[in-house]
């Protein structure tokens, strides 16, 4: 091999793009050629330094908005009828709880704010190319990864056999606190399961709500609050939550 050839091929070697045969040829040449060896070493260092330098640009928020607006909306607007039904239900609940109205309103406000934050975190995870910090379908890899990163160890349960594939875990921020997100997939749909500590250890049954077209299933158990967020249907999200809770129960008893 000539130096001229090696000077081109060494780049492919650095990039891991050469097949074994060519890689051996280039390596053989480099071993016997101080000039090319020097060059190889130098380009390797440049490549590493380049990878360590932030050379990317961030798309302006305005551009993101423009594109979002120009694309057809993914979710049909809720029909007038369902809005009215929701409203009627809301009034019935308020009437029943008239005495504790203030407390309920305050708690709902807080819960709604956190739900909005959880949905934002879900959206961020889909859009910023930052869905997963630790990629693994193995619960025994994902769970230890959270250790030392959070004040709580989120339960990581493999539900692949039940039709919800565990794909990894991520650190996120909700309510100005670090929070664990365990990521599942159902077909091509992402389910983020956010887990945070709560002072309240009593079990609270699941509630399904909808925000910005996303379904949220919220429940509490043994000092942990859970929010499962996804664009899958409420029935499927309920199924996910039920299977998760059943598996949790089985884990404790087993």
């Amino acid at each position: 091999m000539t130096c001229e050839e090696a000077e081109v091929l060494l780049h492919a070697l650095i990039d891991g793009e050469l097949d074994a045969g060519h890689a051996r040829e280039v390596e053989a040449h480099i071993e016997g050629c101080p000039h090319c060896a020097e060059l190889m070493q130098e380009y390797r260092e440049i490549s590493q330094a380049m990878a360590a330098t932030d050379l990317r640009y961030k798309a302006p928020l305005e551009l993101r908005r423009r594109i979002e607006k120009a694309l057809p909306q993914p979710q049909a607007a809720p029909s007038r009828r369902s809005v009215l039904r929701g409203f009627a239900m809301g009034s019935a609940v308020s009437a029943m709880a008239a005495t504790g109205l203030v407390a309920i309103v305050l708690r709902n406000d807080d819960a709604q704010r956190i739900e909005a934050e959880v949905v934002s975190a879900h959206l961020r995870s889909l859009q910023a190319g930052h869905l997963i910090d630790v990629v693994s379908t193995d619960q025994h890899t994902v769970k230890p990864w959270f250790n030392g990163k959070l004040d709580v160890s989120p339960p990581v349960i493999d539900l692949t056999a039940q039709g919800f594939t565990l794909v990894g875990g991520r650190l996120d921020y909700v309510d100005a606190r670090a929070i664990g997100a365990v990521v599942y997939k159902r077909r091509q749909h992402v389910i983020n399961l956010f887990v945070a500590q709560t002072a309240n250890t009593e079990r609270r049954a699941a509630k399904i709500s909808t925000l910005q077209g996303f379904n949220i299933r919220r429940w509490s158990d043994r000092g942990l609050n859970y929010w499962a967020v996804s664009d899958i249907g409420a029935d499927e999200l309920t199924e996910f939550g039920d299977k998760f809770e059943t598996a949790m129960q089985a884990n404790k008893e087993g």
């Binding site: 081109v8 020097e38 330094a49 330098t53 551009l63 120009a70 993914p74 049909a76 910023a128 190319g129």
Partner: protein, 185 residues
């Protein structure tokens, strides 16, 4: 069987957003380097996403990023044509640009030490100064982490061309970096 091909199919819109929007920063980064202008880059990326949505039915995967990039590249080339400043062809690259004195330093040269940490702004400027085909190949490889095969598909050239362009791009960038260091001193 009736296939819904409506442009406003909400399921298609949802799938497209989920598949394509995560690459918005990548697309914008590529457009910035190709067009060297922030406003033009924004327009090109928006145009790219709308075109991609239109052709989403024919998308067969598997990698969304190179597919978007190929569309974006076409949009950028249309922009070049509009500017009437066609990108420098490979043949027109000045000889000096590729005549890099690559082996004139000793291994302990202090410049070697400087190479280990780059100043992002300086490197961005140096990349922007590369002639178009080299800049494109370099950005797709070093910043977008595409494989040679993917770069070849995006740029519609053989893999061998990708390899030689990348080698020359790196040589030019290295020379420019050393010259920059020379000036600083």
């Amino acid at each position: 069987m009736v296939v819904n091909t409506s442009q406003d199919d909400p399921e298609k819109a949802r799938r497209f957003r989920e598949a394509a929007l995560p690459y918005l920063d990548d697309a914008y980064t590529l457009a910035r380097y190709l067009l060297r202008d922030a406003a033009d880059a924004e327009d090109a990326v928006q145009d790219c996403y709308l075109r991609a949505y239109k052709h989403f039915d024919s998308y067969r995967g598997p990698a969304m990023k190179p597919w978007l990039f190929a569309i974006l590249r076409n949009v950028c080339r249309a922009e070049f044509a509009r500017r009437k400043t066609a990108p420098t062809a490979v043949e027109e690259v000045p000889e000096s640009a590729e005549q890099a004195p690559m082996w004139h330093e000793t291994p302990d040269n202090p410049e070697r030490q400087m190479l280990r940490r780059f100043d992002g702004d300086v490197v961005r400027k140096l990349i922007a100064a590369l002639a178009e085909p080299f800049r494109e190949t370099f950005v797709l490889r070093e910043i977008q982490n595409l494989s040679y095969r993917e770069i070849a598909d995006v740029a519609a050239v053989p893999v061998g061309t990708v390899m030689s362009r990348l080698a020359r791009a790196r040589a030019m960038l290295r020379t420019a970096w050393l010259a920059e260091q020379e000036q600083v001193k």
